[in-house]
């Protein structure tokens, strides 16, 4: 009796948030999927179901493939880049330097700033003629490193990725630092007593135990790489040409600039599916690990 009452109480406690999340998140996702099967164009909603024709149209759209390529490039460079830089910074900070708190704040600050602001700053820094980066290179004799950055379509995407790695490395550093700090001190001391060098210490003891932190950071970075919009929109607007176009940007353009609501919904649903392919295995693995 008591057991059932507890269960009902638990359900009642969860009910408000279940309803809100259910309506605003999951029902909206479902509604969006239905819109993607319709032919809604323009400001008057139209729910004529036309099957998968929006998706078929998508598969023939060169802009879609360029955007997908850019997203995959973003994932393949941004995610490992942020992880490694974050790990490196975390290891440095773990060395118990005197001004650790200051350094931690400095590294974390970019992540705390609004993406819109940092994107505008990077746009100014990347300006090829009067931006800080090129001017600095010139002044310290590294003039050959100057380039068009985000104005050069062949390297614009890489410039964007560089700016994003800078923004996120503070977050990954924090995750790894927490992971390193949670390793029992006794293990480290035992290793040192056994004569392990610093390199071996990190290679054999610390890094293997950071797998879970790395996985957590990995999922967050992956999901961001798939939905990055505001930063790229402000920094390059998708340009020059289509060189920094990503799926969320394409979705925004199609839906709000061109009022192709059904087409934009198809892109959104596709993005959702891709994100699920990343998140679901992670959830499964972490729930299994929880049961161990």
């Amino acid at each position: 009796m008591r057991f059932i009452k507890d269960k009902i109480n638990t359900l009642l406690v969860f009910l408000p948030s279940l309803i809100l999340v259910g309506y605003f998140v999951y029902a909206s996702i479902g509604w969006n999927a239905i819109v993607s099967l319709s032919d809604w164009k323009g400001l008057r909603p139209s729910y004529n179901i036309v099957g998968l024709s929006q998706y078929a149209y998508l598969s023939h759209d060169p802009v879609f493939w360029t955007s997908l390529e850019n997203n995959l490039l973003l994932i393949s460079l941004f995610v490992p880049g942020s992880l490694f830089l974050g790990l490196f910074l975390a290891i440095l900070l773990d060395a118990k330097v005197r001004a650790e708190n200051t350094f931690r704040t400095i590294y974390l600050l970019p992540f705390a700033l609004s993406f819109v602001i940092t994107a505008a700053l990077w746009a100014w820094m990347y300006n090829p003629s009067i931006g800080v980066i090129n001017t600095l290179f010139e002044k310290i004799g590294l003039g050959f490193l100057k380039s068009g950055w985000t104005t050069d379509s062949s390297i614009a995407m890489y410039s964007v990725i560089l700016a994003l790695i800078w923004q996120f490395s503070g977050y990954t550093m924090l995750v790894f630092l927490a992971g390193i700090r949670s390793i029992p001190e006794s293990q480290i001391m035992a290793a040192r007593v056994d004569g392990a060098s610093s390199l071996n210490l990190y290679k054999r003891i610390v890094i293997p135990q950071l797998k879970f932190s790395a996985l957590a950071a990995f999922v967050v970075l992956m999901v961001f790489a798939l939905k990055a919009f505001d930063f790229i929109f402000i920094l390059t607007g998708g340009g020059p040409g289509y060189s920094t176009y990503v799926l969320p940007l394409m979705m925004y353009r199609e839906t709000f600039s061109m009022t192709h609501f059904a087409y934009g919904a198809a892109i959104a649903t596709l993005l959702f599916v891709i994100v699920m392919m990343v998140v679901v295995p992670y959830l499964y693995m972490s729930s299994r690990r929880g049961k161990e």
């Binding site: 985000t150 104005t151 020059p240």
Partner: protein, 356 residues
């Protein structure tokens, strides 16, 4: 802001009036039934007598009036730095076609100005802005075909010629254009770092704020090939359906369309009134010249870059195509992409423009 406005209108929370550009920009609202016709208001106020025909057409859908134009901005304007031209013996009155214009640019390059034309295409629309003036320079007949969605062949000689002209134009442009906004490009002309800039006449405000005098420090001439043509970018207000205060909305429209209203607003805005009976004494020197040109114009055409002349679905794509063209300078790829976009949006070309 346009995205916000669409969301508000969709949600039934439209403000009593909101600014939009005349022409196709209002079409999504009209198609969805969110605008009320105001032909009766037009008759009452006698606006047809004071407003030119092409402007009237730009605020009509299906033969009924839906908006009131408050101002006219001209888009086919070349701004030049007078000191730079005088120092090199270039007379702007002779630059009536692209050959003469490019010859002048060559002269400036030889004299040490590496990039005589300034361009700032952050936001991409400035590229489309230049293209449409070049297209207008190919003749009002071709421009009319273009905005009526009839240019569908990637080998159309006038289209290819226009793109080739644009390609040549880009050879004189500053290499860091992708990092500059339009006003930063105008600033280059103000400083004398560049001689020419093609921009709508909202650029006049930049010169004014920098303390420059029209006719003394800077001047304007129509983009080569468009003498006697007035490219239109028009702000207008409309009467949304089911607004909370319909009487106030109509009162506002009366003010907006009145001579006093327009003469109060436009001198500050930097544009010229949509009415041809403006009190010219209230306006600055550039605007006086523009009003005279507007009255004497042989042809007027709706701007595509600013949402009036072509469906928004096409214009948004055109901005991307032009940005890619400015980057790759590939004429045939741009021609193909452009005509493909026109064909893809063909169902949206419901307005039939009659420009000549």
């Amino acid at each position: 802001m346009k995205a916000v406005m669409k969301s508000l209108v969709l949600a039934g929370e439209a403000p009593d009036a909101f600014q939009m550009h005349a022409g196709y920009e209002g079409k999504p609202y009209f198609d969805a039934g969110y605008l009320d016709p105001i032909s009766d208001l037009w008759k009452e106020e006698g606006w047809e007598a004071a407003i030119p025909k092409v402007v009237q057409d730009m605020v009509k859908f299906n033969g009924e009036y839906y908006a009131v134009p408050v101002n006219i901005h001209r888009v086919n304007v070349v701004w030049y730095n007078k000191a730079v031209l005088d120092a090199n013996g270039i007379d702007p009155a002779t630059l009536t076609n692209w050959d003469a214009f490019f010859a002048a640019c060559d002269k400036l390059v030889a004299a040490g100005i590496a990039h005589p034309i300034s361009l700032g295409d952050v936001g991409k629309w400035t590229d489309t802005h230049v293209l449409e003036q070049i297209i207008a320079g190919e003749g009002i007949g071709f421009y009319e075909d273009w905005v009526n969605g009839k240019v569908t062949s990637a080998t159309d000689p006038k289209l290819v010629h226009a793109l080739e002209t644009f390609k040549k134009y880009l050879g004189y442009v500053n290499p860091d254009h992708a990092a500059l906004t339009w006003d930063e490009a105008t600033a280059m002309v103000i400083r004398g770092d560049a001689a020419f800039n093609v921009m709508g006449d909202w650029a006049n405000g930049e010169f004014y704020v920098a303390g420059k005098e029209y006719g003394k420090d800077y001047g304007t001439f129509p983009t080569p090939g468009t003498a006697g043509m007035y490219g239109l970018c028009i702000d207008c207000f409309q009467h949304p359906k089911g607004v909370k205060h319909p009487e106030n909305s109509l009162k506002w429209l009366r003010v907006v369309g009145s001579k006093d209203g327009q003469d109060a607003f436009n001198p500050i805005k930097g544009s010229i009134p949509a009415r041809t009976d403006a009190d010219v004494t209230k306006y600055g020197p550039y605007q006086k010249a523009a009003i005279a040109d507007f009255k004497a114009a042989t042809y007027m055409y709706p701007s595509v870059a600013h949402g009036s002349g072509a469906p928004e679905a096409f214009t948004a794509k055109l901005d991307d195509i032009m940005s890619a063209f400015v980057d790759t300078r590939d004429v045939s790829a741009a021609a193909k992409a452009l005509t493909d976009a026109i064909t893809a949006a063909s169902a949206d070309y419901t307005i039939v423009w009659k420009l000549h």
